[in-house]
Amino acid sequence: MIRYLLRRTLLLVVSLFVASVLIFLLLRLLPGDVATTIGGLRATPAQLARIRANLGLDRPLIAQYGSWLGGVLHGDFGRSQLNGVSVSAELATKLQVTAPLVGGGIVVALLLAVPFGILAALRHRSSVGGGISAVAQLGIAVPTFWLGLVLALLFAVELRVLPAQGFPVSGWNSPGVALRSLILPWLALGLSEGAILLRFVRSSVLDVLSADYLRTARAKGRTRVGALLTHGLRNAALPVTSILGLQIAGLIVGAVVVEQVFALPGVGTMLLSDVGNRDLVKVQGEVLVISAAVLVISFAIDIAHRVIDPRLREAG
């Protein structure tokens, strides 16, 4: 296990270095630059050149990359070229919205997907199973944007029980208001993601239900549900945790649609705005931190697999 951990940690470091190079170079392929955002449509070519020189954008790419990487190695992910805000500070602020948003969304998704996915598998030949599958299919087909609007219209505009949009200016210093402002986004995100996850849970449980070891357990006198709970769920959880890991990683940025519908100042909205403004030093810092988070989550999922599945531990 220790050798495995060391090998995976080394792979993590190499992956991060490759990610930093790719992020830096790919962003340079985008048309336009931050100088035009700063200078605007009426700036003269001479003014734009001065802005670029002030920001160091006229230096060779390798020098720009070197400066950035040097900062990153010292824990400095850079600063906005538009307003001087530190990338780390900005990310920390935005994660105060996005992390609970994604976390709560995943909890809603799990609460929906696990029980109903198992039920759909256990009753897959009945109308209950068929009904759950059909609703899940509908849930996958419904755009998150539309679902968010429906929820806001129903619970905020019509029933007036929850806020329609926004996050308190005072943030988590007003925990009650902050929580209330996240309920509808959680539902919008959780229902969409839960519908996807439910299909995987159902499929995974169905596979397990037809496995030999479950038949053996039932032959020894266990009920179908009892055998599934004792022996089957652990195996069924393996593919589901993989999908869950991918969903969490994707949602850190992918929650942007929900952030837009509910006007939440999160990571996705910030990235969208920064890319649009070509604030590339900020974007590359943000994307690197997010990439690192994705790689760490993937690392954690691998470890979780080993804890769940003894066969992987034995394989070394």
Partner: protein, 514 residues
């Protein structure tokens, strides 16, 4: 259950229409031109906070060296002030602000400004002529990073003979000077200001100070107790930056915002005929311009340009957008050189086909339109449909704004472009052959240059009127429409601006009833 369904089903149908964008209005939206008069102070809550929805968040709070209409909208008048300002209620007349009055020498080369007494910066220091001189010197200094510093190229020197008098001497007459003093480049900063520090702490002389910037969400401005003029009647204003129109509507309907500026004209239904809200309609300088690349074929042939203009029915485009007026040139009615030129190239698809045939395209032609993806597809759908009837197959290339800037604006790699030219008084773009329009008319350039140094505003206006007419006659572009702006106001809120609010949202008259 049945009751829940009866609520939910129509709601879902309504949301589907809204989300799919199929709820097209039967015609352009309308609104009131003004609110009821503000009641006396005794009936107002002078400690109120007003929540205002805006669309575009500033990228920085440094107005000296960062461009962007969102900075102007927030900062001009509210936080920073100029010698002069624009009165949008008087057809954009130039009126005093920090200068109570000014004199112009008979030769038009010297302007003397007399400052108001008791003006102070937000750090408490008195505003004097030395600050004015220093601010203008920062713009005119060689290599200045001031945005639009080039607009003060005519200034020879600025003097401060006494603490309340400023004298600007010009190299030559400049009929744009007073207007430019009302704009971003004319902001008066405290002597010695470090502009980079303005992002974290403002130091203007306006009625509000910046309270907090919750990036990606809102900016709060607070009443400045030391303001030299009339004190604002509200303690704070929170500007909420909500880009999605449906979300903004929800916020306004549920009372999270008191004022919804730049409301989507196609989504006003919840507010019209409601006793809880007033919908205000105001003019803008937003000219939705279909630009031809005049420097390349087939647009080098004027017949093609006229054909396109005649193939498009402006009324249909305005209906698709939701609100606006036809202008016929690059001049909105509030400009002193406005002339109704909508009779030039009126909608005539049959003649458009003839013009194309005469230009060598009897079987029509295919063109590509490059448009930033921030604009509604309803406009481009109308263009595609109407140009098709004239024999033009239009391919719409929707790109991100920075790509438009790079491809169209900087590198001139386009055939047709659609963008909102929101800058006021920007007719000079047609006198610049290097501008992305590619319009090169020596006569227009000459008239525009003469207008800049004309002996009087009357002479200038006459020359610019000729420019406006000539570019329309040449079909230099197609000015599809001048947008109207719609502002939804909750009952009990007064003093809400409604005209040209994307250029400056003057919060100084806001008031809330007790």
């Amino acid at each position: 259950m049945r009751r829940a369904l009866t609520t939910l089903v129509p709601l879902l149908a309504a949301v589907t229409l809204v989300a799919c964008g199929t709820g097209a209005p039967s015609g352009p939206a309308t609104g009131a031109s003004s609110l009821a008069a503000t009641p006396p102070d005794a009936q107002l809550n002078l400690d109120a906070t007003v929540n205002v929805r805006l669309t575009l968040e500033p990228t920085s709070l440094n107005p000296f060296s960062t461009a962007g209409a969102a900075l102007d909208q927030l900062l001009l008048t509210n936080v920073y002030q100029n010698l002069l300002t624009v009165d949008v209620n008087k057809q954009d007349a130039v009126v005093p602000q920090l200068a109570s009055s000014y004199d112009e020498s008979p030769d038009g080369l010297t302007y003397t400004f007399h400052l108001v007494p008791n003006a102070h910066f937000h750090d408490g220091k008195a505003l004097t002529s030395a600050d004015v001189k220093w601010s203008l010197d920062q713009q005119t200094a060689p290599g200045s990073l001031g945005i639009y510093a080039a607009n003060f190229a005519s200034i020879n020197s600025v003097a401060a003979p006494d603490p309340r008098t400023v004298v600007i001497s010009l190299k030559h007459r400049d009929t744009w000077l007073l207007w430019n003093l009302t704009q971003r480049e004319g902001i008066i900063y405290e002597q010695g200001t470090n502009f980079a520090s303005l992002d974290s702490k403002d130091n203007g002389s306006g009625p509000f100070t910046i309270g907090a910037w919750n990036r990606g969400s809102s900016i709060t401005i607070n009443r400045f107790a030391g303001y030299w003029g009339a004190q604002p009647k509200v303690a704070s204003v929170i500007f909420h930056y909500i880009s999605d129109s449906n979300t903004a509507n929800n916020a306004q309907q549920t009372g999270q915002t008191d004022v919804e500026a730049t409301a989507d004209p196609t989504l006003l239904q919840p507010f019209t005929n409601s006793s809880s809200f007033t919908v205000l309609s105001g003019s803008t300088s937003d000219k939705f311009t279909l630009a031809f690349n005049d420097a390349v074929a087939p647009f080098t042939n004027p017949a093609v340009r006229h054909a396109i203009r005649q193939a498009i029915n402006n009324a249909d485009v305005i209906k698709a957008y939701g609100g606006g007026i036809a202008i016929g040139s690059d001049v909105p009615p509030q400009d002193p050189w406005y002339e109704d030129l909508t009779s030039i190239d009126k909608y005539n698809p049959a003649n458009a086909r003839k013009l194309l045939a005469s230009a060598g395209f009897p079987n029509g032609l295919s063109l590509t339109l490059t448009v930033p993806n921030i604009y509604t597809t309803a406009i481009t759908d109308v263009l595609t449909s109407e140009l098709k009837q004239a024999g033009i197959t239009l391919t719409v290339n929707r790109v991100e704004f920075q790509t438009w800037l790079s491809q169209v604006f900087t590198n001139h790699q386009f055939q047709l472009s659609l963008v909102d030219h929101a800058e006021a008084r920007d007719i000079g773009n047609y006198a610049n052959a290097k501008y992305y329009f590619g319009y090169d008319n020596a006569q227009v350039q000459n008239w525009f240059a003469q207008a800049g140094t004309a002996a009087s505003d009357t002479d200038r206006n006459a020359l610019l009127k000729q420019v406006g007419k000539q570019i329309a006659t040449d079909a230099a572009s197609d000015w599809l429409f001048l947008a109207k702006t719609f502002t939804v106001v909750r009952q009990g809120v007064y003093g809400v601006p409604s005209i040209e609010t994307t250029e400056r949202f003057d919060a100084s008259n806001l008031a809330v009833a007790k």
